[in-house]
């Protein structure tokens, strides 16, 4: 879903994750490699690698 687009910037909201009502960054990026991003769930400390896909 494009939520804003102008000139040279497009912003997509890609992934909605459960909101637990925390104050701070629940999904913290711990690094990227090409089209992959390592995210850490701040509350559970679990990590998962996500791949960016273009349809």
């Amino acid at each position: 879903m494009i939520i804003n687009s102008e000139d040279n910037l497009e912003i997509y909201e890609l992934l909605s994750l459960p909101n637990r009502g925390g104050r701070f960054h629940q999904y913290y990026p711990l690094g990227t490699y090409k089209d992959k991003i390592l995210l850490m769930d701040n509350e559970t400390q679990k990590r998962a690698i996500y791949k960016l896909i273009k349809e």
Binding site: R20, F24, I37
Partner: protein, 303 residues
């Protein structure tokens, strides 16, 4: 888990079974941490174990490289090593001082000596500094001081900050950009430096749109996210400043373009590469109570 429909999406491809603790890419080379050990993965080759390096605090970890020199921010310490096998030498240690995500920049001085510049984030509301560490001379210097909120309020000292959030280098201009927070009293401010932090020029301050956690860069523009929180109920933007409008002296505000965001404050900028063209920048959202959590991608076209 709900997915937003769009031309791009994120697909979970690895969870828990093999989830590294941290990873950092340098071109095609992937450096990652697993069981507190550093591994290097080259294309089409198996990962190679380098050395043990227990992670102290993975939020705020950063690994930056210049040639064969590596600098690692791990907890409240900064390590430097020739290569990834170590030995890792501690060049800075302060239990009150960490980074968030982007807080270190490699430079070379006029004598072609390697200098690591780094900022600090503290929760003590004390002074914040920008330091340089000269590798060849094993010399730590303080380049800039941001006075504390109390020093500003009682003595009027400038510049001041509650936190230094981010320091990044624009790969196109070589300029260094610094973002401070948190209030509308001047502590939230964005600075840049043309001379490796020997002097700073303020781009803007006194508004939440100058309170940022990370930058990203294209050839002609600098972008930054906002760190305004739900508690202040400020609108959220990604801001853009054309580099032709970078000021030559301190400014209260610069001519920026604001791109509204629908969710809460954004956290750290990460760069994803999708194919050979374009750059994709990912910023994870804060999980504000009233606004929901998620992951947002800002896609900056090639200009």
């Amino acid at each position: 888990m709900d997915w937003q429909v769009g031309p791009y999406y994120l697909r979970k491809c690895c969870y828990e079974l093999f989830a590294p603790q941290f990873m950092q890419a340098f071109d095609d080379t992937l450096v990652f941490w697993y069981h507190n050990t550093i591994f290097v993965k080259l294309p089409h080759k198996l990962p190679k174990r380098m050395c043990k390096m227990p992670i102290q605090y993975d939020e705020g970890m950063e690994l930056v490289r210049q040639g064969n020199l590596y600098a690692l921010r791990n907890g409240y310490k900064i390590f430097i090593s020739q290569g990834l096998n170590g030995p890792w030498k501690v060049v800075f240690s302060n239990p009150a001082s960490t980074g968030i995500r982007h807080s270190m920049v490699w430079t070379r001085n006029e004598k072609e000596e390697d200098e690591l510049l780094f900022s600090e984030y503290t929760t003590s509301w004390g002074r914040h500094h920008i330091y340089s560490y000269n590798v060849q001379h094993d010399y730590l210097d303080t380049l800039q001081t941001f006075y504390s909120q109390a020093e500003h309020d009682s003595l009027g000292l400038e510049p001041f900050a509650r936190h230094t959030h981010v320091m990044m280098r624009d790969p196109y201009s070589g300029y260094i950009f610094i973002g401070n927070g948190d209030g509308n009293d001047g502590s939230s401010a964005i600075y840049y430096s043309k001379d490796n932090c020997r002097s700073l020029i303020r781009i803007g301050a006194f508004e939440q749109c100058y309170r940022t956690l990370s930058f990203f860069f294209t050839e002609k523009s600098v972008f930054w996210n906002n760190d305004a929180t739900g508690s202040t109920d400020e609108p959220q933007y990604i801001c853009r400043l054309s580099k032709v409008n970078l000021p030559d002296c301190n400014q209260v505000a610069s001519p920026i373009t604001k791109f509204p965001l629908v969710h809460a404050a954004h956290w750290v900028t990460e760069e994803l590469k999708l194919g050979d063209n374009g750059r994709v920048i990912c910023m994870s959202t804060n999980g504000e109570v009233y606004r929901g959590g998620g992951v947002t991608i800002a896609f900056a076209h090639t200009e």
